[in-house]
């Protein structure tokens, strides 16, 4: 089956920084892929490469079979892009912005106006149609950004952190709009640093960190994989560390994460804790710490990336 978006081994460097370090992606038509990662993980760079705004240093990517480097013009006809860097003109009114894009896409003046008003009505912006965009609220602004990427009815939509900085109400309004588009059959690539957003919208999630894909799966698979809970064991004697690792690993059926002398493992089976206690006792291993903590989605993220969501402030993408 042909993928709507397909990427293999994407690499992008900015000077000393490697923003993408071999990213693979595959998105089926009509689905939503959530690209999840903290600030600076490379999400924006990935979207910019796929939207033809940046050329990768290595690897290939295609949108509906069109190469994003060699057939960039074709890709641009298929993709609508919304992100903080792909913005509308603040000096113009809402309707002027949408007419401008319609005209650039080759629509006759009348058709462009008609499409602009159609979108403004759909996005609940009709009342603000003739106001300069700089007077819009944050939520209105994002809705217009989204409308601007839909003027040409693209079959693919790239949404780069569409709700960052929005209040909860504006956020859920935007989610609803995105769900409606998906219902119409649009393929969506969504980047976000919010797990609940990926959980709410995405059919499949790709977690990236430091330019690498570190996990892939449906939201359910990811939660199961990282466990609803995690078990941490710290042996009293450092010499017992390998015994702890092998016992915990054998019982949990995954290889545990070792940080210093702390052994952690995701827990999906409630029988794990008593089993671990029994086996450690049998082996004569004394532990100073044995904790079972239920993990929120944020901890799932922490488990995968090794640091909490949004902990890195370093910005990514092209220099401002």
């Amino acid at each position: 089956m042909e993928h709507a978006i397909w990427a293999e081994g994407l690499v992008k460097r900015f000077g000393q920084t490697t923003a993408l370090d071999g990213v693979d992606l595959a998105v089926r038509p009509g689905t939503v892929l959530g690209l999840l990662g903290p600030n600076g993980a490379g999400k924006t760079t990935a979207v910019r490469v796929l939207a033809t705004l940046l050329q990768p240093d290595a690897g290939h990517a295609a949108v509906r079979g069109y190469d994003v480097v060699r057939q960039a013009h074709q890709v641009r006809q298929l993709v609508g892009l919304t992100g903080q860097y792909a913005s509308v003109d603040e000096a113009l009114t809402g309707v002027e912005n949408l007419v401008l894009i319609g005209r650039l896409l080759g629509m006759p003046r009348k058709r462009a106006k008609q499409r602009a008003h159609e979108l403004l009505a759909q996005f609940n912006l009709s009342d603000a149609a003739d106001r300069a965009v700089k007077t819009y609220s944050g939520g209105m602004r994002r809705r217009l950004d989204l409308a601007a990427s839909l003027v040409g009815r693209p079959p693919l939509l790239f949404l780069d952190e569409p709700t960052t900085g929005l209040d909860p109400r504006a956020r859920s309004e935007l989610w609803e709009l995105i769900r409606n588009l998906v219902a119409e059959g649009v393929t969506v690539l969504l980047t976000t640093q919010y797990l609940d957003e990926a959980d709410a919208l995405a059919d499949e999630i790709v977690v990236i960190d430091e330019g690498r894909v570190i996990a892939t799966g449906t939201p359910e698979e990811l939660k199961a994989k990282t466990g609803g809970q995690s078990l941490a064991v710290r042996p009293a004697e450092a010499s017992d560390l390998s015994a702890v690792v092998s016992i915990v690993g054998e019982l949990a059926e995954v290889s545990p994460d070792v940080t210093g002398d702390l052994v952690t493992v995701p827990v999906s089976d409630p029988h794990l804790l008593p089993a671990v206690v029994r086996r450690l006792d049998e082996a004569g291993v004394v532990v100073t710490e044995l904790t079972l903590s239920s993990s929120s989605l944020d901890e799932v993220f922490l488990t995968l990336t090794g640091h909490p969501a949004g902990s890195q402030d370093e910005s990514e993408g092209s220099p401002a």
Binding site: T52, L53, Q77, Y85, A86, D89, R103, R153, P155, S318
Partner: protein, 271 residues
């Protein structure tokens, strides 16, 4: 399923389509001016103020009479104003780059050259407006054409051609500058000396020899000579007017040949 139908995909943008896109983007710049009267006042009120100040404050002292000075200075004032108006190309481009509008445009299937071409086309509209304005105010104050309407039209065309070339300097400044304010700072620190150390406001003969040497090669002086020749003729400009006209065109060609590739290169590096 309205949105998801696969559109017809074309392999490239034709030149006619690219031109139409450039004009659409030029239209956008003109609409921006309508929404932002401050910019309008910048290139409308400021030149009027300059004409009035120089004529009535300095004119008598420099030329002995305000009307003589107005005649002498006005062609140069048109040249100076033209340079400052090109700055809006840089400022607008810089705003697009910093606010993300430029990336939106690049994500659309439009000709790669359309955003720059649109800016420069819009600049020509602003240029034409400000030339007409300065000349109109001058005529109200008593400026009279010494040659013919053909000479005047020749000067206007020459100014527009020079503006076309010089706007590439503004493009470079717009690409390199961190924010739109810095484009303005460039205007004040580079364009003021360039226009004042010329024959725009006073004849070069009164300046020290080393300064005269610079004034003589300054393209602003040459272009001002050409405009004086085309608008006023004898005694304001004596000699063959073709000389400064051709020299101005050569200067325009050189500026274009240096700054257009440099700007495109800088833009590719920035985005």
């Amino acid at each position: 399923m309205t949105t998801a139908t696969i559109p017809e995909v074309s392999p490239r943008v034709g030149p006619v389509e690219g031109l139409r896109q450039s004009l659409t983007l030029a239209w956008r710049t003109v609409v921006q001016v309508r929404h932002n009267p401050w910019e309008m006042s910048d290139f409308s009120i400021q030149p009027i103020m300059f004409v009035l100040l120089f004529t009535y404050v300095f004119g008598g002292a420099i030329a002995g009479s305000t009307s003589d000075y107005l005649t002498f200075m006005l062609p140069g004032m048109v040249v100076m104003n033209m340079l400052f108006v090109t700055l809006y190309v840089g400022q607008g481009l810089n705003t697009d780059l910093t606010k993300g509008v430029f990336d939106r445009l690049r994500s659309l299937p439009v000709a790669r050259w359309a955003p720059l071409a649109g800016r420069i086309a819009a600049d020509q509209v602003k240029q034409a407006w400000s030339i007409v304005l300065v000349l109109g105010v001058g005529m109200l104050l008593g400026f009279r054409l010494g040659t013919s309407v053909a000479g005047l039209l020749g000067a206007v065309v020459l100014l527009l051609v020079f503006a076309l070339a010089f706007s590439w300097v503004a493009v470079l400044v717009g690409v390199v500058a961190k924010d739109p304010e810095r484009v303005q700072i460039f205007g004040f620190t580079a364009l003021f000396p360039l226009t004042f150390v010329s024959n725009v406001f006073v004849p070069a003969e009164t300046m020290p020899g080393w300064l005269q040497a610079f004034v003589d090669v300054n393209p602003i002086s040459i272009l001002t000579d050409a405009c004086r020749g085309l608008m006023l003729g004898d005694p304001w400009y004596t000699g063959a007017v073709a000389v400064p006209v051709v020299q101005s065109l050569v200067w325009a060609g050189v500026i274009l040949a240096v700054f257009a590739p440099l700007s495109v290169w800088a833009l590719k590096r920035r985005v």
